[in-house]
C-alpha cells in the first residue's frame, strides 16, 4: 500500500465506516462537494443522501447531530474550521457531553465532531486557532488530536465506535505535510492512551498535533548535540493518559510541554499540575512550557505567525536550557 497523507487516511477511514454502518452519516458545510480540505471528496456520490450539506450555523450542525444520535443514528459532523466551533459550544458542552451523566448511564450519545485546527498555514485569526483547552475542560467529552496518519485512522475509527461524544481535532497543517505507510505503522486504537514516540534520558517532551512533529525535529537535532529526549505524543487530550505521562516524567525528571495554543490556561498547565502532584519527588528541574504567547489570535503575516508559533528551534532552545539545568 502506498503512503497515505493525513487527509487521505481520514477520507479512506470515513469511507470504510460509511460502508460498514448504514446508520452513519456526515453533516457539515460544503461536505457534499468534498469539503474545503477534501476530506469527504467522492463520498457523496458513493453514499447518496448520507453526506449532507448544512447551513453555515455550527450550533445547528452539532444540535442536529445530537438529535440524530438520540434517534439511533451515528452522526459524524464536520466543523469547517475549529475557529467557528464555539457557536456550537453550548450544544456540545451543555448538552452532548452531559447526556450519559444526566441519564445515569441509561442513554448514550454516539457522535463525532471532526474539525481542522491549528496554524502555520497563514490562515490568520479565523482559520488558525487552537481550541482544545476550552473543550478539555469538559468532563463527558473526549478530545483527540493525533499527529500521524495511522493514528488518525485508528482513532477516528475508535471515535466513531465510541458510544459518547468525541471531538476529533485534525491539524490542518499536517493534512498534506505528513505521510506514512499505514500498514505496519504504530496505530493507537484506544482513546485515552498516549504513545512514547522517542526515548531519551535527558528530558521528556510532551506534545500533540503539529507540535509533536516540531518536537521530534527538535529532538533529532538535539541528539546531534548529545541531548537525548523522550517525546510523548499525547494523542488523546481528554482524558489524559496519566500513566504514560507520569512514567515519562519520572524517568527523566525534566519536563518540557509544548503546545501551539496560548500559554495561560493551555493544556500544558494541566499536564504540569499532574506531574507536580504525582511525580514531585522525581523532578530534577522546573517544569517548562513552550507555547504561543498570550496574544488574542494567530497573526496572519508570515513573520508574525512565526513569532507566534512554537517551532523546532524554540523547542530545542528550551530543551537545551532544561538539559543544562
Amino acid at each position: 500500500m502506498a503512503q497515505a497523507s493525513v487527509i487521505e487516511a481520514i477520507r479512506s477511514t470515513l469511507d470504510e465506516e460509511l460502508a460498514a454502518d448504514e446508520r452513519m452519516f456526515i453533516l457539515g458545510e460544503d461536505v457534499e462537494a468534498g469539503g474545503v480540505f477534501r476530506a469527504t471528496d467522492g463520498l457523496a456520490a458513493k453514499y447518496p443522501g448520507r453526506i449532507i450539506d448544512s447551513p453555515l450555523a455550527e450550533s445547528s450542525i452539532i444540535g442536529l447531530s445530537i438529535g440524530a444520535a438520540h434517534y439511533g443514528m451515528r452522526p459524524v459532523a464536520e466543523i469547517q474550521f475549529a475557529d467557528f466551533i464555539h457557536s456550537g459550544f453550548d450544544q456540545l458542552c451543555s448538552e452532548a457531553s452531559r447526556w450519559c451523566y444526566r441519564t445515569k448511564g441509561d442513554a448514550y450519545l454516539p457522535m463525532v465532531v471532526r474539525t481542522p485546527w491549528g496554524g502555520g498555514v497563514h490562515g490568520g485569526q479565523h482559520h488558525s486557532q487552537s481550541i482544545e483547552a476550552y473543550y478539555t475542560h469538559m468532563p463527558g467529552l473526549k478530545v483527540i488530536a493525533p499527529a500521524f496518519p495511522a493514528d488518525y485512522r485508528s482513532l477516528l475509527k475508535a471515535a466513531i465506535a465510541d458510544p459518547n461524544p468525541v471531538l476529533f481535532l485534525e491539524h490542518k497543517r499536517t493534512y498534506r505535510m505528513v505521510r506514512q505507510e499505514l500498514e505496519g505503522a504504530p496505530a493507537e486504537s484506544v482513546i485515552g492512551r498516549a504513545r512514547v514516540t522517542r526515548r531519551g534520558g535527558d528530558l521528556a517532551i510532551f506534545a500533540y498535533g503539529l507540535m509533536l512533529h516540531e518536537s521530534l525535529a527538535a529532538a533529532e537535532s538535539l541528539a546531534g548535540e548529545g541531548i537525548e529526549c523522550t517525546v510523548v505524543d499525547l494523542l488523546t487530550l481528554l482524558p489524559l493518559d496519566r500513566e504514560t505521562i507520569l512514567e515519562a516524567a519520572k524517568a527523566t525528571g525534566k519536563v518540557l510541554i509544548v503546545h501551539e495554543d496560548t500559554l495561560t490556561g493551555g493544556l500544558g498547565g494541566e499536564i504540569a499540575a499532574l506531574i507536580a502532584e504525582h511525580a514531585f519527588e522525581y523532578l530534577d528541574a522546573p517544569i517548562r512550557r513552550v507555547a504561543a504567547p498570550d496574544i488574542p489570535a494567530m497573526p496572519y503575516h508570515h513573520a508574525m505567525e512565526s513569532f507566534f508559533m512554537p517551532d523546532a528551534a524554540k523547542i530545542a532552545a528550551a530543551a537545551r536550557e532544561l538539559a543544562a539545568y
Binding site: G201, D202, G253, F280, E281, Y282, L283, D284, A285, A324, Y325
Partner: protein, 460 residues
C-alpha cells in the same frame, strides 16, 4: 553585575545578620577583600569577596537579618587597576568562617571614580561563564547563581534511597547544581561517596553550641545596639534579639524544658591555690605570655574529677546518653555580644600552662568574634567562672545536650573553723554544680564535687 549572597556559616545555620559593611558603593573590591561582617547564631565572620571590581548597591542594611542565599550586595565585575585578575581563582568559600584580621585587609588607595576609569568591564556573558566555571570548578562557590547547595526533589530522593553524600558530588548542572544524572553516574560508578555521618555524630557536629549557662551580666550591651521600635514618645521600646541572643534564649529554654535539673554546692578552701597563683603569676606571664588565673587550675581539677566520675562527661544524642572518653570542656565566656561557650578540646590532656594558653586563646577570640565553628561545637561538660562577676553562689543552667555544668565562684577571705578548732582566715571558694537528674543521681554528683573539692584543696 555579580550578586553576593549570604553564605551558610556552618550546618543548621539558616540566617545571618550584617554587623557592618566594610565596603561602600563605589569602593574598589579585590578578590577576598572582606565585604562585610556577618553574625550568625554560631559565629561571626567576615565575608571575603569572590569577585573583583567595584562595590555596587548594598541590598541589606547593617543590623538586618536575612536568610542564607539572600542577596547582600552587588559587585560590578572588572579587573582592578589594570590588573586582569582571574575571577575564577576565587578561593573556596567552604561554608566555614574565613575571618581576616583587620590589619590584613587591603583598603583601596585610589578614589572610587579613578578606579572605575581604569576598570576593564567584563561583558555579562563572559562574567556569567566565569562565574559558572568558578561555581563548578571549586564546587563550593558562594557567588551568584551558585546552585551547589540546591538539591531537586529527584536528587534528594535518590540520595536518600542510596545513602549518597550529595556534598561530595561535583555538580554538572547550572551553577554547579548536582543533577539527577550526576547522582546516577555516581551510583553507576559504584564510587558513591560515603553517606552522611550517623545521626548522632551529626547532632554532635551540628549542635547548638552557644548555650548560655548564666545570663550575661547586666550592662554588657551587644556590640550592635538592638534596634528599637516604637514612636519617639512611646513609654516602651521593643528589643530586637541578635542571632546570638536568640540562640542563647532557645537553648536555655530547651534545657529547662527537657532536663530536670538539680543543684548542689560545696565550699573549698583554696588558700593554697591562691598562694600558688600569687607566687607563679609573674613568672608565668613572663615565660608563657599569658596571664595566669585560677581558671586553668580549676579546669584541670575538673578534668581529673571527671575521669573519676565519667557519667558527668556525657551528652544526650537522640534518645541515647553517651559518655565521652575525651574531655572537651566548654568555657563560658561573657563576650560583649552575648555569652558564648568555646570548647577546649582534649582539655584532659593539657597541663595547667596548656589550659591557660588555650583558655586565653578562645576567650580572646570570643571577645573578638573570631571563633570558628569547630571552636564552639562538641563540648562534653562546661565550666563557668561566675566568680569573675563577683558571685559567690549561682545556679547555672545545664548546657544542653551536656548533663553537667560547674561554676567557680569568687574566692573570698573568711574566718574558718579548722580541724584543730582554731579559727583562721582562709581563701574560700564555693563550687556549684547543676546536673541533669535523668543522667545521674546526687550520689555521683556529690562524689564529683567532693573529688573536685579535694583536688582544689590539695593544691599548694
Amino acid at each position: 553585575m555579580a550578586t553576593v549572597t549570604m553564605p551558610q556559616l556552618g550546618e543548621s545555620v539558616t540566617e545571618g545578620t550584617i554587623l557592618a559593611w566594610l565596603k561602600q558603593p563605589g569602593d574598589v573590591v579585590r578578590l577576598d577583600d572582606p565585604l562585610c561582617e556577618i553574625e550568625t547564631e554560631k559565629v561571626t565572620a567576615e565575608l571575603p569577596s569572590q569577585f573583583e571590581g567595584t562595590m555596587g548597591a548594598i541590598l541589606v542594611q547593617q543590623g538586618e537579618t536575612v536568610a542564607v542565599g539572600a542577596p547582600l550586595c552587588e559587585v560590578e565585575e572588572g579587573a582592578v587597576e589594570g590588573k586582569a585578575a582571574p575571577v575564577a581563582a576565587a578561593g573556596g568559600w567552604s561554608g566555614g568562617p574565613m575571618a581576616i584580621p583587620p590589619e590584613e585587609r587591603e583598603l583601596p588607595a585610589a578614589p572610587a571614580a579613578a578606579a572605575v576609569g581604569t576598570t576593564e568591564i567584563v561583558r555579562p556573558r563572559q562574567a556569567a561563564a566565569t562565574m559558572r566555571n568558578a561555581a563548578t570548578g571549586n564546587g563550593r562557590s558562594g557567588g551568584p547563581e551558585d546552585r551547589t547547595r540546591f538539591y531537586s526533589p529527584a536528587v534528594m530522593r535518590l540520595a536518600e534511597e542510596h545513602h549518597v553524600d550529595l556534598a561530595a558530588i561535583e555538580g554538572t548542572g547550572i551553577g554547579g547544581r548536582v543533577t539527577r544524572k550526576d547522582v546516577e553516574a555516581v551510583l553507576a560508578g559504584g564510587g558513591a561517596p560515603p553517606a552522611a555521618p550517623a545521626p548522632a555524630q551529626q547532632e554532635k557536629a551540628g549542635m547548638p553550641s552557644a548555650a548560655a549557662p548564666v545570663e550575661p551580666i547586666a550592662g554588657t550591651a551587644a556590640a550592635l545596639p538592638p534596634a528599637v521600635r516604637g514612636a519617639p514618645d512611646s513609654p516602651w521600646e521593643a528589643v530586637t534579639f541578635s542571632a546570638t541572643r536568640r540562640t542563647i534564649a532557645e537553648n536555655l529554654k530547651r534545657s529547662n524544658l527537657e532536663a530536670p535539673q538539680a543543684w548542689t554546692m560545696v565550699e573549698a578552701d583554696v588558700t593554697g591555690l591562691v598562694r600558688l597563683r600569687e607566687r607563679d603569676k609573674e613568672r608565668f606571664l613572663r615565660e608563657e605570655g599569658v596571664e595566669l588565673t585560677l581558671l586553668p587550675y580549676f579546669t584541670a581539677a575538673v578534668c581529673e574529677s571527671l575521669r573519676e566520675f565519667p557519667m558527668l562527661n556525657a551528652r544526650w544524642e537522640g534518645d541515647e546518653l553517651r559518655r565521652y572518653h575525651a574531655l572537651d570542656i566548654g568555657i563560658a565566656v561573657a563576650a560583649e555580644q552575648g555569652l558564648v561557650v568555646p570548647v577546649v578540646h582534649g582539655a584532659g590532656d593539657l597541663s595547667v600552662a596548656g589550659l591557660a594558653k588555650r583558655i586565653a586563646d578562645v576567650a580572646q577570640r570570643a571577645h573578638a568574634r573570631k571563633l570558628r565553628v569547630e571552636d564552639i561545637e562538641g563540648g562534653t561538660f562546661t565550666v563557668n567562672n561566675t566568680g569573675s562577676f563577683g558571685s559567690i553562689a549561682s545556679k547555672p543552667i545545664v548546657n544542653y545536650p551536656q548533663v553537667g555544668i560547674v561554676t567557680m565562684e569568687r574566692a573570698v577571705r573568711r574566718p574558718v573553723v579548722r580541724d584543730d578548732d582554731a579559727i583562721s582566715v582562709r581563701w574560700m571558694m564555693n563550687v556549684c554544680l547543676s546536673f541533669d537528674h535523668r543522667a545521674l543521681d546526687g550520689l555521683a554528683a556529690g562524689g564529683f564535687l567532693a573529688a573536685l573539692k579535694r583536688r582544689l584543696e590539695a593544691i599548694a
